[in-house]
Amino acid sequence: MTTTKASQDTELVITAKGAEPITIRGALPSLHSDPKKIHQLLDLLEMPKGTEVKVITRAASVVVR
């Protein structure tokens, strides 16, 4: 299996051995830099009707440094 990123923001290609490559195009936000972008990601994907996603963590004070 290989996973390549032609551009971090525009394309994600997944290749599984023996299968045709699967390409996802569009803005692929890094969720870990902005957890709320999971909603944007959901819009890009063809998920079954009724699928929901949400951020369940209610953060408080940032970790000081």
Binding site: I22, L31, H32, S33, L41, M47, E52, T57, R58, R65
Partner: protein, 517 residues
């Protein structure tokens, strides 16, 4: 049982409930229609962890779900022999998110937000943040002074200069708010977890550059929660009637953003330089321990609960005054001080009195078999003895530390391994940091050995060792202490005893494989 690479991590929570299936990991929860899940055997096997995501791709209808779960970091990565720093960064991101989720799940946050936490807990939390800020420049400087990589060393030199003054400008609390003096705040004895965090990050900075970068990144990248943070501060200001109290904290966050601290740390990992799998495991372990001690500090803060608006600060011992009404650092039931103050004028008598003081002598049952880190502690203490000898300068200190080094080496168990109990490491780090002051170190190592109970050492070795150790301490028996020295030693022993107590009563082990959990 280990989860195979490509399957859902153990920490991914799957819950079937009525007509929905909920998948929870780190910061997110995905809800799927149960009918759809049950109609796709590929998805069922994926959720049951009996197939990998690559196998599930055979079903085109599963692709989007796999993408969604991949983005969250839900799958166990395939192990490799080496990793580029870029790969390390990508592997760390979901771990970091799961640690944030655990950190913010602590009940203390809601208690502060609602005003339910006592005033003393609020003060303890505020001063804990001051301590973490105070450590930032120090830890960065430790890294810069000992690091070997040119680019990273330059980064942390600049980082140290940017960070060291923030504790003074932004986090040194207004004493009038606390009804205490500025000197009280500066002298406040850190909570045990605050000490453990600071000393662990110092040791990590010395010997694990990658672990240091990951820890710093975990801290700085929490600015992603700036909006939630601002809301939280507003709630606390309102709940405790301290309007605009957190403005300086918000100003600090803005500076961190403007100076690009989080992005700068992320860029350090934007490289094709490789590390071995072993180096990666070690770095992740160290980063986890940093997170663990930060999360534990929330427990320590909660332990500072007092009724009403009473504030009892953790002040260092002063003038050998051991009144529990003066400082929160004394454990419950601590005995009244000796009637003869001369006990504290000599090193040996001070130690003997302290070891047998009520409230400390009665210890809980010591060992958790699953977390028996005795070999690690003994070999670690032996290592500290050479450092202490390396800092000794006076004749008496050289001879005392040399004897102690000989003794500790004789009882050390070879290849003690890495500690499984995080607090074993905290104890070792505390003793390590004391090595720059030989007498303080000798007291710390004596206390650690006495609390560890030499019963576990073979009889023949123990009798020789005890004689050697008592000779070592006896050598100092004529060491006269000033009042300030006695205060400092008593405070230090109390701090170490807090860490030893946590070692004896905590059982959460360091995760064996963070990439697989």
């Amino acid at each position: 049982m280990a989860i195979p690479p490509g399957c859902l991590r153990k920490e991914v929570d799957i819950a079937f409930s009525g007509d929905t299936v909920k998948i929870g990991y780190a910061l997110w929860e995905t809800t799927l229609p149960a009918e759809w899940v049950c109609s796709r055997s590929s998805v069922q096997r994926l959720l049951e962890r009996t197939s990998t995501w690559a196998e599930a791709l055979a079903d085109p209808h599963a692709t989007s779900l796999i993408q969604l779960l991949h983005a969250q970091g839900c799958f166990v990565a395939a192990p490799k022999d080496t990793y580029t720093l870029r790969e390390v960064r990508d592997l760390f991101e979901p771990l970091k998110s799961s640690w944030y989720a655990a950190y913010y799940a602590h009940p203390l946050w809601e208690r502060l937000r609602s005003g339910e936490a006592t005033y003393n807990e609020l003060v303890a939390w505020l001063i804990h943040n001051y301590h973490v800020s105070r450590a930032a420049g120090v830890v960065a400087a430790r890294m810069a002074s000992l690091g070997t990589s040119g680019r990273w060393r330059e980064f942390f030199e600049q980082d140290a200069l940017e960070e060291y003054w923030h504790c003074d400008a932004f986090y040194l609390i207004d004493p009038s708010f606390l009804r205490a003096t500025r000197e009280n705040i500066k002298a406040y004895v850190p909570l045990p977890s605050s000490t453990a965090f600071e000393q662990h990050t110092l040791r990590t900075a010395e010997r694990d550059a990658l672990g240091h970068v990951l820890t710093a990144y975990f801290q700085e990248a929490s600015i992603v929660f700036e909006k939630d943070s601002d809301e939280f501060y507003g709630k606390v200001e309102s709940a405790y009637a301290i309007p605009s109290f957190f403005q300086r904290w918000k100003d600090h966050i803005r500076i961190d953003v403007a100076q690009g601290h989080a992005s700068g740390l992320r860029e350090l990992l934007d490289s094709d330089i490789t590390v071995t799998a072993e180096e990666l495991r070690y770095a992740l372990s160290n980063a986890w321990l940093s997170f663990y001690f930060l999360r534990s500090s929330l427990d320590d803060i909660s332990d500072q609960r007092h009724r009403g608006n009473e504030v009892l600060l953790r002040l260092p011992i002063e003038d050998c005054n051991l009144s529990a009404k003066r400082t929160a650092i004394l454990p419950l039931g601590f005995v009244e001080p000796p009637s003869e103050r001369l006990v504290f004028s000599q090193l040996q008598s001070l130690y003997d009195w302290y070891l047998n003081a009520s409230g400390l002598r009665e210890r809980p049952e010591m060992y958790h078999p699953a977390n028996d880190d005795l070999p690690c502690l003994l070999s670690g203490l032996a290592q500290t003895s050479y450092r202490a000898l390396g800092f000794a300068r006076s004749h008496d200190d050289v001879v005392s530390c040399g004897r102690a080094a000989r003794f500790l080496t004789s009882i050390a168990i070879e290849d003690g391994g890495a500690p499984r109990n995080p607090w074993a490491l905290a104890v070792l780090n505390y003793v390590w940091e004391a090595t720059t002051a030989p007498i303080a170190w000798l007291l710390c190592v004596s206390l650690a050995l006495d609390r560890l109970d030499l019963r576990r050492i073979p009889e023949s070795r123990r009798s020789d060792s005890q004689r050697e150790l008592s000779t070592s301490v006896d050598f100092l028996v004529s060491r006269t202490l000033t009042s300030k020295e006695a205060d400092s030693h008593l405070t230090s022993l109390l701090q170490l005893d807090e860490l030893i107590n946590l070692y004896q009563t905590s059982c959460e082990p360091v995760p064996a494989d963070l990439l697989a959990d």
